[in-house]
Amino acid sequence: MEGFVALYIFMLAAFTGYEVISKVPVILHTPLMSGSNFVHGIVLVGAMVALGHADTKLEMIIGFFAVLLAAGNAAGGYVVTERMLEMFKSSGDKKGDK
């Protein structure tokens, strides 16, 4: 990928991340931290690729652990976030989506 194109994507993504988070109530800080923690679980995809094209034993072992850890990140991140946000559900749904 061309360097500058990556820069554009990085810039836009950074702006997007910033905009999405600005002005959230303090009570959502922890759930959002957890939610974004889940999102970088996408590293799993990279880990799969790394393991996928690993050639040597060493690379494969490292790759295996990469997938293992990344899966942990994704799965754990999801469960924990979901449970935290569960708290907002009952009372939120009570009033309908507003």
């Binding site: 800080h29 931290m33 970088h40 679980g41 590293v43 799993l44 990279g46 880990a47 690379e59």
Partner: protein, 458 residues
């Protein structure tokens, strides 16, 4: 790379952004994580068809690793108590950072004709990811109680600084070393990164922990984004950088919510502030207006206990506005008037009447005292003596024997006052130190104003 995979990644990136956006508003937050989850599943499944994944054997291996890691994390995440959530976030975050670092390791070991930029980003990602890994694990260990001591020694900062410097120099050697850096240097580089991450986390403790976890979270995001570039994977790039940017902002916001600059949390008095406060039995815990607003907005029942401070601040109109907003959201709100609240008989009545509060939601002590245990949030506004449990418990207290409003028995108490001012009787109030009490500092009118606008935004 084939179109299907690319399209899936694209969809995943869109879903991540959409999900995060939803998560930042309380009433939609839960849908947000579900959307993001869908994105993740799509991306993961699509990756099986990624051209880099050679052969069935690898797929099996991947599936095993994924299953194992996923299962362990999922089941531990399901079981853990709500109060232990923060350390779990730290743990999972560490795993992500580790994964990013390991990807970097694989790529750097392969040394497959990387471009200069790719090589630089791979190294940066490795450094950051490794730090996030070890740092998060230390944070986890501390919160979980596995590691109790907060190690501190003189010259700590200097040692940290030197370690970091050496790591960076090694990193530069690798990044600009073309393809002829030695494996040993690589190994030492990773080791030092690991060490530095841990050292960063070790001296921090107490209330600063969440800020640090958030910082490591942002770092993991960056690492993932950079490794995404290395692997030419835009989904990783976008998700990683979005998290990196969001996480950085979040870290700042969290530090701000604690009234401490982020540098203070990280470098100056490493966790000292909070360490000491906890030596008292219970401490005054501050809360932000926006947080208090959410607590009340999602409560079933709120009792408001006004006192002399409401009168001084002339906050009655604002309070009534707040109440009307809560009522609109379906919250049951009652006013509890203590017989001697204020400075004259009926002081609160006069003010509430002025604001137009109808009589039928105003209760006196006898009528309401039994309701506190079933109350989600009691909002104490500029009242002090009339909610001081010492009247019940401490026979030496000058107010002993005076009936009080049992605000302390409700599930949560929010106390609005300007500072450490005492009440009429001039004594300390233990309610303010209780576990279920949060202090909301400020002039009652100003605070009520903030609450009103915060509730509107939810």
């Amino acid at each position: 790379m084939d179109y299907l995979v690319q399209a899936s990644y694209f969809a995943a990136a869109v879903l991540f952004i959409y999900g995060l956006k939803k998560m930042s508003s309380p009433s939609h937050a839960r849908k947000g994580i579900v959307w993001a989850g869908v994105g993740m599943v799509i991306a993961t499944l699509a990756t099986y068809f990624h051209p880099s994944i050679h052969g069935f054997e690898k797929m099996i291996l991947i599936t095993i690793a994924m299953g194992l890691g996923g299962y362990l994390a999922w089941s531990s995440g399901k079981k853990v108590a709500m109060t232990d959530m923060p350390q779990m976030v730290a743990l999972y975050n560490g795993l992500g950072g580790g994964a990013a670092a390991l990807i970097a390791a694989v790529e750097l070991i392969r040394q497959e004709n990387m471009s200069q930029i790719v090589q630089i980003l791979a190294v940066i990602g490795a450094l950051i990811g490794t730090m996030a890994f070890s740092g998060s694990l230390v944070a986890y260990a501390k919160l979980q109680g596995i590691m109790r001591k907060t190690l501190r020694f003189p010259g700590q900062q200097l040692v940290n600084g030197i370690t970091f410097l050496v790591t960076v120099i090694l990193g530069l050697m690798i990044a600009f070393g073309g393809s002829d850096y030695s494996m040993f240097v690589l190994f030492v580089f990773f080791l030092l990164s690991l060490l530095f991450g841990a050292m960063m986390a070790v001296p921090i403790g107490g209330a600063d922990m969440p800020v640090v976890i958030s910082l490591f979270n942002a770092l993991t995001g960056l690492a993932v984004g950079f490794e995404g570039y290395v692997l030419a994977n835009p989904a990783m790039m976008i998700a990683g950088i979005v998290v990196g940017s969001a996480g950085t902002l979040l870290t700042q916001l969290m530090a701000k919510a604690m009234n401490r600059p982020i540098s203070n949390v990280l470098f100056s008095n490493f966790g000292e502030a909070s360490g000491e406060a906890q030596e008292v039995t219970g401490s005054m815990k501050e809360i932000e207006a926006s947080d208090a607003a959410v607590m009340m907005a999602f409560a079933e029942k709120v009792i408001i206990v006004p006192g002399y401070g409401m009168a001084v601040a002339q906050a009655q109109h604002k309070i009534w506005e707040l109440v009307k907003q809560l009522q609109e959201r379906g919250v049951t709100v009652k006013f509890a008037i203590h017989p001697v609240a204020g400075r004259m008989p009926g002081h609160m009545n006069v003010l509430l009447a002025e604001a137009g509060v109808p009589y039928d939601i105003i209760y006196d002590l006898d009528e309401i005292n039994e309701e506190f245990p079933t109350t989600d949030v009691t909002l104490v506004i500029g009242a002090n003596d009339v909610v001081n449990p010492a009247a019940r418990t401490d026979p030496n207290s000058p107010i002993h024997g005076m009936p009080i409003l049992n605000a302390d028995k409700s599930k949560n108490v929010i106390v609005i006052k300007r500072g450490k001012g005492k009440g009429f009787s001039g004594i300390e109030n233990h309610l303010f130190f209780a576990d279920n009490t949060r202090m909301l500092y400020g002039d009652a009118q100003q605070v009520a104003n903030d609450l009103v606008s915060d509730i509107k935004e939810i």
